[in-house]
C-alpha cells in the first residue's frame, strides 16, 4: 500500500467515524442504546462483539463522563485518540510534504507483529469481549 492510498483510507474512515458520531449524538443513542445498528455480529447473533459499545463510550467521553466511558468500552478511548490525532497528522504531512504518518504506520505494524505483543493483545481483546457479553451491551 502506498502513502496516498493509506491517507485516503484513513481520511474516509475519519469522515465516516465523525458522521456516525454526529448521527448518534443528535439521535441521542442512549435512549435506544440497544437498537444501535452498525455491527454485523450483533445484528445476526445478538451477541455483542469486542468493540460494541465504543460509540456510547465516545459519546460519554464527549459529555465528560469519563468513568462511564471506560465502563461502556475501553476501546472507545483508543478510538478517540486515533480520531483526534489522525486528521491533524495527515494535515501536517500534506502541508510539509512528509510521510511521517506512513512511516509510523509501518513501524506500528511491525511492532504489533511481535509474538508477546500478539499474545497480550489477543488476551486483552478476549477479556474485553467476555466483559462486553457480561454487561449485556
Amino acid at each position: 500500500m502506498n502513502r496516498g492510498k493509506l491517507y485516503l483510507i484513513l481520511i474516509s474512515a475519519c469522515i465516516t467515524g465523525y458522521s456516525w458520531l454526529a448521527i448518534n449524538f443528535y439521535n441521542n443513542a442512549f435512549i435506544e442504546s440497544n437498537k444501535l445498528g452498525g455491527c454485523l455480529i450483533k445484528s445476526i447473533t445478538s451477541i455483542p462483539c469486542p468493540s460494541c459499545g465504543s460509540t456510547r463510550a465516545v459519546l460519554s467521553f464527549l459529555k465528560g463522563d469519563f468513568s462511564d466511558s471506560l465502563f461502556w468500552n475501553p476501546i472507545g478511548i483508543i478510538l478517540i485518540v486515533i480520531m483526534v490525532v489522525t486528521p491533524i497528522w495527515i494535515l501536517f504531512d500534506l502541508v510539509f510534504k512528509k510521510s511521517s504518518l506512513y512511516n509510523f504506520y509501518h513501524h506500528t505494524e511491525l511492532f504489533l507483529k511481535r509474538k508477546w505483543i500478539v499474545i497480550i493483545s489477543i488476551l486483552l481483546v478476549l477479556l474485553n469481549w467476555i466483559w462486553n457479553i457480561n454487561k449485556g451491551l
Binding site: A13, G38, L40, I41, C49, I78, L79, T108, K113
Partner: protein, 111 residues
C-alpha cells in the same frame, strides 16, 4: 532457470497470483539464477479461498486482514466492528485480490 522448473512453479502456484502477473512472473523466473530455486520453491503463499472463508466467518473481527499480514487494517476492522459492518462486507469481495497482492509482494522479495 530451466523452463521446466519455471512451468512447474507456475502450475503449482499460479492460483496464488493475479492472472495478469503470471506472465511477468514467468519471465522473471526464467532470468533468475538456479541457486535461488530452492528458496523460491519452499515459499509458502496464502490461499485466497481460505482467506475468503475466514473473511465470511470472522471478517467483522478483522481476522482475515491479520492472516494476510495487513495488521494495521486488521486493527482498524477489529476496533470498529468491521467498519460498522460495511467494510466487512466490502472485504468479502476485496480480500481475494488483497491476498494475491500480498503473495506477489512476498515473491517479489526474491525475484
Amino acid at each position: 532457470m530451466e523452463a521446466q522448473k519455471v512451468d512447474m512453479f507456475i502450475m503449482a502456484n499460479g492460483k496464488f497470483f493475479e492472472s495478469h502477473y503470471v506472465g511477468q512472473i514467468r519471465d522473471r523466473l526464467m532470468q533468475l539464477d538456479d541457486s535461488k530455486w530452492l528458496v523460491i520453491q519452499t515459499l509458502q503463499f496464502k490461499d485466497p479461498t481460505t482467506i475468503l472463508i475466514v473473511s465470511l466467518l470472522a471478517g467483522s473481527l478483522g481476522i482475515d486482514r491479520f492472516m494476510i499480514g495487513d495488521t494495521g487494517m486488521g486493527v482498524g476492522k477489529l476496533l470498529t466492528c468491521g467498519g460498522f459492518g460495511i467494510w466487512a462486507i466490502i472485504d468479502w469481495f476485496m480480500i481475494m485480490g488483497a491476498t494475491r497482492d500480498k503473495n506477489m509482494q512476498k515473491l517479489q522479495l526474491y525475484l
